[in-house]
């Protein structure tokens, strides 16, 4: 469809965040009893999300629209721009937030913490600021929206601020966010190339010297990385996500991280024209390291939300790696391959947004049902909350990268992109690739391990502690979850449509396109550069499985009466089975600890075999904290100690200061 007959789409798109702000303010003003307040306003926000997604969709292939608002600085009013890239991420925001908001209606109605009116305001401001980040077309509006986003989410994270690790988490989060913002500001400063013009159009116009371009790229990598959670600025992520209420974690992990990816793509592919091969290598390496790091830490977590947070780091790493590949190909003008890598990346963005928010929401339901967050206490919820369990299963399979769900589709494309790197005219890179591919494969495989741990321990087996009043999710919660799960399945089974919808955007960014390779194959098959090289037909997959399943089922039934006798579990004939004999979360993580020991900073104490009351203690720290952050903090402290010495409290000293200043200046100007 062309954007011409849908000209006002940008106005509609820009109207949605304003609507969100309005909802927030009205919600703030509206005094009513908690449950009905939440159930009234959050679904409104969900409706806004739907509208946003639908309004942005035409722009994915349509032409670019830009408007200037009469707000902002006198010389630099707010510029809004709706192009392919922003459209894609707006759709992501709208579609995912719709599900989350719907869910949030029930969630906040039931949760005890915080003042729901404030939460409503902050939540919708958060949504609106994300939308404006995606729409911004000048540095000022971008920074404003960017920081408002950080701020709103900070307040949401610290909703339950009596707990001091939550406060610490929020603080850490905001600090890192601020550092990132500083880097981004510097990046824009580099991009605008001396003439004081901070609209993105002007930056597009500039062509930077290679050195400065590299500086800008690295600044962007740091700045956006601080939001996305690249190594080593990931430090806030596993703290802040668990601290936040689940819908907020879902929004942050699912959508907010993607805005950072958006920024990175915007700078790298849109504002900077040229790319240099080593940027790609840098991004690729960093991404893979991040992915491995994330998945390993996820494997050893004992708190389900921390586990998911680390898995977010992993997925972000994969996305970054994909971006790196795209840059790499693009820098060698291999546009089709760049297009492949980029579509894979974007596709993975939306997939991760879907299943990660889905899983975070399920943790929310679990916490409401059991008021536990630690894996060590949960178990067997598939019986008490079948709905959530079923939906969570879809999310788990998707995030574990299993066909025929969406996670696999994007990872498949990424693998294809990796396998096409031998065409790069650089032997070292060719040699590098197998290693990269290996790391990627390892990360993906470990993700499967992590997810089995997550699902198995939370939903399967026996409850590790007596879980009273575990009940299934409410209607709105189910609706929100189903919405997300639905898309996981649809995108998984029919990835071709998603990829071809992405094609104009990818073409705009890389001048390459997957069209012809897709034209050669049918809509059933997802293909890489060309169908005979590789293809993947998830629908056939699904059909095949279902057919065989039905066949076997019927055959078995023909053979057999299908009666089932219930009995106690056999368990190799051992009697006296109890729940504590199951694997604990630590137990599940233990082999990973063993194998990848050097990655962790471990503190362990094993009980001696003859211990009367054996106790096992194990704590895992992030090495980066001690490598990067502690030294910086020390430095600041020493510096401020030095400076503090200036202030001696003796008036004579102060007089000497000013006397000296006077003399020095007088001599200076002679």
């Amino acid at each position: 469809m062309s954007g011409t007959q849908l000209l006002p789409s940008i106005y509609l798109v820009a109207a949605v965040p304003l609507f969100w702000i309005a909802v927030g303010l009205i919600g703030l003003a509206h005094q009513t009893q908690r449950a009905e307040h939440a159930r009234l306003y959050f679904p409104l926000g969900a409706a806004g999300g739907l509208v946003l997604a639908m309004a942005a969709y035409p722009a994915l292939s349509g032409e670019v629209h830009a408007i200037v608002l009469p707000l902002g600085l006198p010389d630099l009013p707010f510029h809004l721009r709706l192009d392919h890239l922003s459209a894609f991420f707006l759709i992501l925001l709208g579609a995912v937030s719709a599900g989350i908001s719907l869910y949030a209606g029930d969630y906040f109605a039931l949760s005890r913490y915080g003042n729901v009116r404030l939460i409503c305001l902050q939540y919708h401001l958060f949504l609106a600021s994300m939308a404006f980040v995606l729409l911004a077309d000048d540095a000022y509006l971008f920074m404003v929206a960017w920081e408002s986003m950080a701020l709103a989410s900070y307040f949401l994270v610290t909703t339950d601020h009596e707990v001091d690790e939550i406060r610490r988490a929020g603080f850490l989060y905001l600090i890192v966010a601020h550092i990132g913002a500083i880097a981004i500001l510097l990046c824009f400063g580099t991009l605008q190339l001396g003439q004081w013009n901070y609209t993105f159009d002007a930056m597009r116009g500039n062509t930077l010297a290679t050195g400065w371009a590299a500086v800008a790229f690295l600044l962007a990598l740091v700045g956006y990385g601080a939001k996305a959670g690249f190594l080593p600025v990931h430090i806030w992520l596993p703290e802040a996500h668990p601290a936040a209420p689940s819908p907020v974690s879902a929004l942050m992990s699912g959508v907010m991280l993607k805005t950072a990816i958006y920024g990175l793509l915007r700078v790298t592919f849109d504002l900077l024209h040229q790319q240099i091969w080593w940027w790609g290598v840098a991004a690729l390496t960093l991404g893979l390291l991040t992915a491995l790091f994330g998945v390993m830490f996820a494997a050893v977590q004992t708190d389900m939300k921390r586990l998911l947070a680390y898995s977010s780091i992993e997925n972000i790493g994969i996305i970054l790696a994909g971006t790196g590949l795209a840059i790499l190909f693009h820098s060698y003008n291999m546009n089709v391959l760049a297009a492949l890598a980029l579509s894979a990346t974007l596709f993975h963005c939306i997939n991760h947004a879907l299943f990660k928010s889905l899983l975070f929401l399920t943790t929310g339901s679990v916490m409401h049902a059991t008021s536990h967050r630690s894996l060590g206490k949960l178990g067997g919820l598939i019986r008490s909350m079948p709905w959530v369990a079923a939906i969570a299963l879809i999310g788990t399979l998707a995030i574990a990268g299993l066909p025929p769900l969406n996670g696999f589709a994007s990872e498949w494309m990424l693998f294809q992109a990796f396998l096409l790197t031998p065409n790069l005219p650089n032997t070292y890179l060719n040699m590098l690739v197998p290693v990269g591919t290996a790391a990627f494969a390892l990360a993906v495989a470990l993700a499967g391990y992590v997810m089995v741990k997550f699902y198995g321990i939370v939903f399967l087996g026996l409850p590790r502690e007596p879980l009273a009043h575990a009940h299934d999710a409410g209607l709105m919660e189910r609706a929100g979850l189903l919405w997300l799960a639905l898309w996981c399945v649809v995108l998984g089974v029919l990835p071709v449509f998603a990829v071809s919808a992405l094609d104009p955007l990818v073409h705009a960014l890389t001048e390459g396109s997957l069209q012809e390779s897709m034209r050669k194959s049918s809509w059933l098959f997802l293909t890489a550069s060309s169908p005979e090289k590789a293809s993947y037909g998830p629908l056939l997959f699904l059909l095949g499985i279902v057919l065989v399943w039905l066949a076997t089922f019927l055959l078995v039934r023909r053979f057999y009466h299908g009666r089932v006798r219930r009995a106690d579990p056999w368990d190799c004939g051992f009697a006296g089975l109890n729940a504590r004999m199951q694997d604990s979360a630590e137990g599940f993580g233990q082999p990973i600890k063993q194998i990848f020991e050097p990655f962790f900073r471990l503190e362990r104490s094993h009980p001696s075999p003859f211990d009367a009351r054996p106790a096992y203690f194990s704590r895992i720290d992030d090495r980066f904290w001690y490598w990067v952050y502690v030294p910086v903090i020390r430095l600041t402290e020493t510096l401020s100690a030095l400076v503090g010495w200036l202030h001696q409290g003796r008036i004579h000293v102060y007089l000497i200061y000013s006397f000296a200043t006077l003399l020095v200046l007088l001599l200076l100007i002679q």
Partner: protein, 479 residues
Amino acid sequence: MLVLGFPLLGAFLLALWGNRTWAAEMNASMSLLTLLAAAALTARTIALGPMTEIRELFLVDAFNVFLVALTALVGFTTSLFSRVYMRVEQERGKLSSAQLRLYHSMYQMFMFTMLLALLTNNVGILWVAMEAATLATVLLVSLYRTPASIEAAWKYFILCGVGIAQALFGTILVYLAAEKVLGAGGSSLLWTHLHAVRSQLEPNVLSIAFVFLLVGYGTKVGLVPLHNWLPDAHAEGPTPISAVLSGLLLNVALYAVVRNKILVDGALASHLAGNLMMGFGLLSVVVAAFFLSRQRDVKRLFAYSSIEHMGIVTFAFGMGGPVATFAGLLHMTAHSLTKSAIFFAVGHAAQKTGTQLIEHIGGLINTSPAVGWGLMIGALAILGVPPFGVFASEFLILTTAMRDHPWATPILLAALGVAFASIFGKVQSMVFGESTARRLPHPPAAFPVFVHLAIVLALGIYIPPYLADWYRTAARMLG
């Protein structure tokens, strides 16, 4: 010239009846009248452009009229705040009625001297007014008669007195240079005349003069290393005074510096003055930022943040150029509004918890959401978090710095980062967490706080065109 009349009148009246129960209301109403007069004056200036009054004794132009308006506004809101605050202090028996009378009358006196300093056309009178401002506030700083407050006041007095003496020497030198051109007599100290002939003034004299003026008035601005009086005075005086000190006095002192800078620039045709100011500004920002993390007294904390922001503004004016100067003016406005709002909130917090020590303040948001959110939002605003006005000006300053002095930008940003970490960490622990505050019979004066913050927020998102033009004309004037 009602602008000057009202506070002077107020000073006398309150000197007589400043201890009555309605003194606070009277104080407020006087300030309100001043505000109205200032508003009228502003309107007229916008309409008719710059003008001089009473045999050129007074000058009103875009630059000072906006400061006048700002001063009057903050003066008014602060008087509203001090109404509530001082009542509590009095009930706690911290103040005798005589002290209260002194307080009220000196408050008006202080307003008068500042307005005089802003409005006068005579560089000499400017000096006199600045000195008078010091004299008016020094007794207020030691109002509580505690050892700490007396010490603070003494340092304030000596350091500012010495500084101001340097400024006088500078003024004399300016006069010396001026009389060569304009001949002896009163007219050669009139800024308008000086401005007219500034290109003919003897550069050597003026450069030396500027050093003395910068060191002199800079002491009052609180530039490092002349700043040492500032945290003490802010921390020990009554909170309304801290609010006006860092909200207004610093601005006025900086105004004096800038006024003279214009002359010097004209005479030297070099960037000497600008460079000096940039140096001081940068030094102040960095040093203050590192001081911040060591503070345990909340008012000292924000006093240092004032130093930091004055450094930023000085840096901006030092860079010069339309955008930077514009940003400097904007930052002045945003800073004095935000900072005074913060001090209001801090004052209430200190009264509710009975201490100024940061570690003993906590969970304000639970006992009194108004104060808690006021402090939180104010702190975020002062830290330059969008969408507040402070960010707008910092954005402009930084981006200009990136163009003109790229080397300075990372330093500034690093300092801002450190400041962010230190201030925010402390504020968070005060606002959130378990509450240590207790309720007071009087509701806090939420109105001034949120009015200020609302204006600052508005400045960040939308600067009305007339305001923008106004800043622009001022910026053009300062070159």
